[in-house]
Subunit: 364 residues, 2 copies
């Protein structure tokens, strides 16, 4: 087991990455829960039927958690769902000393963290991410939230967990496509800040995709460590944290234009990274050789599903992105393997030129 | 104009209390809004028709705020309303650098502050409270939130405003009953922490109830100063801030049992303070003379509307109060004029004995 320490302005907490964490979770949680806390667990029906028994096994008989459920799918990551769950918490007698465990993928983690952020103005919570995407990215850093009809994650809070438990054993039940999609956030971590992780992803692709435990632990731990470092420096995304959005400006736009149906989040981010890479190249921010290696690594975790979109649609959707500030168009560019920076002055013409080859490649 | 400085762990901000603040608000806001911010104002249709023109008059022609509306009534202080408003913000192009002004009574302030807390994970906001209750209490301290069907304010955030502008001129359009109800939070401020305010409320009751500007400024400023001091010491209500709940444990229960229809918030708190006073007396925490003065001051700002409730109903409703921690029943008691403390060991029998005379008095 590896332990990564997240140390932000508002909280310090450990992220445990390892195998067999789930069976011992109830005992490990004692350290965070204390005797008087009641434990509630938010999960999905599918995760609970696969792993619920093991999850519960480590809890003492007299302190079994109460389970709450959110159905799968982005359409349930809404305020109405959070309101129902909050009402269930209050009827079950949850108070400010209760502890919520978010046990599931990114939607459970985002909605569960937000539920914990706003229930009685904030209760403590623990993340137990069960997808690769959630383990390498969304469970760490305290971003929580839900969607509006007008955009994803437009409602939310910064609320750091007490701890994160990432058990790579749980990833074995993931569909391969979902695993690959999650790995794009690790690819991003390598591109923007961790050249050693980048090389590891290049050299160990096959072991990683085969689900080798040691390889997965290495990838999850390094991705989390990169994020922990960035979030430790800039918790509220006023500066450095923006580099984590590499590939996300256009990735989010692609997700929006394809109505969140064609592509998994990681896949859209992969397409977005290819476009951001084109933009970095056209500004001659990195060598052709580095650009080629980056593009190759992204494609190595493909195939990327095709989609249809036009440049104007994507520009319009990118305009609504919440990272934009008072009219300027922000963009994260890579300046070499392991390096990234935020630029404020990207023009629509540059974005168009960067997007066109990507949209041709993506066309079905 | 008086300026009170609030200085909490998470933020520092001024509270301005005075007359004629509204006409100059647009100009004053420049200091907080800067040039690039877009300004949105959340208000109620009634407040806007009375004061909207004056509110807008101080803004430059090219920076007129966009108005959003929440209909009056506790039933609109819900997540569905916040979601609609957030969607309106996003469609209107509000981003993280936009500023929200909550211009209205307690519901506007609570819901508007919460909207600002969760829109794009937090945008800045300014409180412009228009009721006495909001000016003396709810606009200061950063508590924001909405109701669940299972309880009031069960959803929320701590989110401090950039500034609070309390213009006592606006109070002139308040119904007298609402003014009196708001004054009970000032009476509470005097009882728990400010003997000088207590004496002023005793000696100047008639001027205050007649709406004298100087008297109202004195009362609002002193109430805010008391709250600012307490919140500065304990922003998140882990200790001292709990004394602000004097009268609120049973007051909230009375509101819940009467379905929020019979009594205004301040009136329910007044009944709750009378019960808390009985409890303090039965524990001999203060002299009979002090107890009598406190009861007289509370009644001096009456009459308190009658209601029907039974002790078991109120105990049950008080059990759901979010100030309770892991089963113990907390209570704020006064230990003399200007003094209060939190006790953890109050029994149902003591509460019953304290409530019975109050319920007899309240019976229609």
């Amino acid at each position: 087991m590896r332990t990564i320490h997240v140390n932000t302005a508002s909280a310090k907490y450990p992220v445990y990455v390892g195998t067999g964490l789930l069976a011992g979770f109830g005992k490990r949680l004692q350290k965070f829960a204390g005797k008087s806390r009641r434990v509630f667990v938010l999960t999905s029906p599918a995760i609970w039927s696969l792993w619920g028994k093991q999850f519960l096994s480590g809890f003492p008989k007299n302190q079994q958690p109460t389970a709450l459920f959110l159905p799968p799918g982005e359409q349930h990551k809404r305020l109405a769902g959070v309101e129902r769950l909050a009402t269930e918490l209050s009827i079950a007698g949850a108070d400010r000393s209760s502890l919520l465990v978010a046990f599931g993928g990114g939607i459970i983690g985002d909605a569960g963290g937000f539920l914990a952020a706003i229930y009685m103005r904030g209760i403590p919570y623990v993340q137990v991410p069960t997808t690769l995407l959630a383990q390498v990215d969304s469970s760490v850093g305290g971003k929580t939230g839900v969607n509006l009809t007008s955009g994803k994650n437009l409602i939310g809070s910064f609320h750091q967990p007490l701890a994160v438990f990432a058990d790579v054993d749980v990833l074995k039940t993931l569909p391969p496509r979902e695993s690959r999609a999650g790995l794009f956030e690790s690819v991003k971590a390598g591109i923007i800040r961790d050249p050693s992780l980048f090389r590891y992803l290049e050299s160990s692709r096959d072991r990683i995709l085969a689900g080798d435990s040691a390889a997965l632990q290495r990838v999850v731990a390094s991705s989390v460590a990169m994020k922990a470092e960035v979030v430790g420096i800039d918790e509220r995304e006023s500066g450095l944290r923006m580099i984590l959005n590499f590939g996300h400006t256009l990735g989010h736009a692609i997700e929006a234009v394809t109505a969140y149906k064609k592509l998994l989040h990681g896949e859209a981010i992969a397409w977005g990274m290819l476009a951001a890479l084109n933009l970095s190249r056209s500004r001659q921010l990195l060598s052709e050789k580095e650009a080629l290696r980056i593009a190759q690594l992204i494609r190595a975790f493909g195939p990327l599903p095709s989609f249809r979109a036009t440049v104007p649609e994507l520009l319009e959707a990118a305009g609504r992105d919440k990272k934009n500030k008072a009219g300027t168009r922000r963009f994260v560019l890579t300046t070499g393997i392991g390096k990234a920076s935020v630029v404020e002055d990207v023009t629509d013409a540059e974005i168009t030129a960067a997007l066109e080859p990507v949209l041709r490649e993506a066309r079905p």
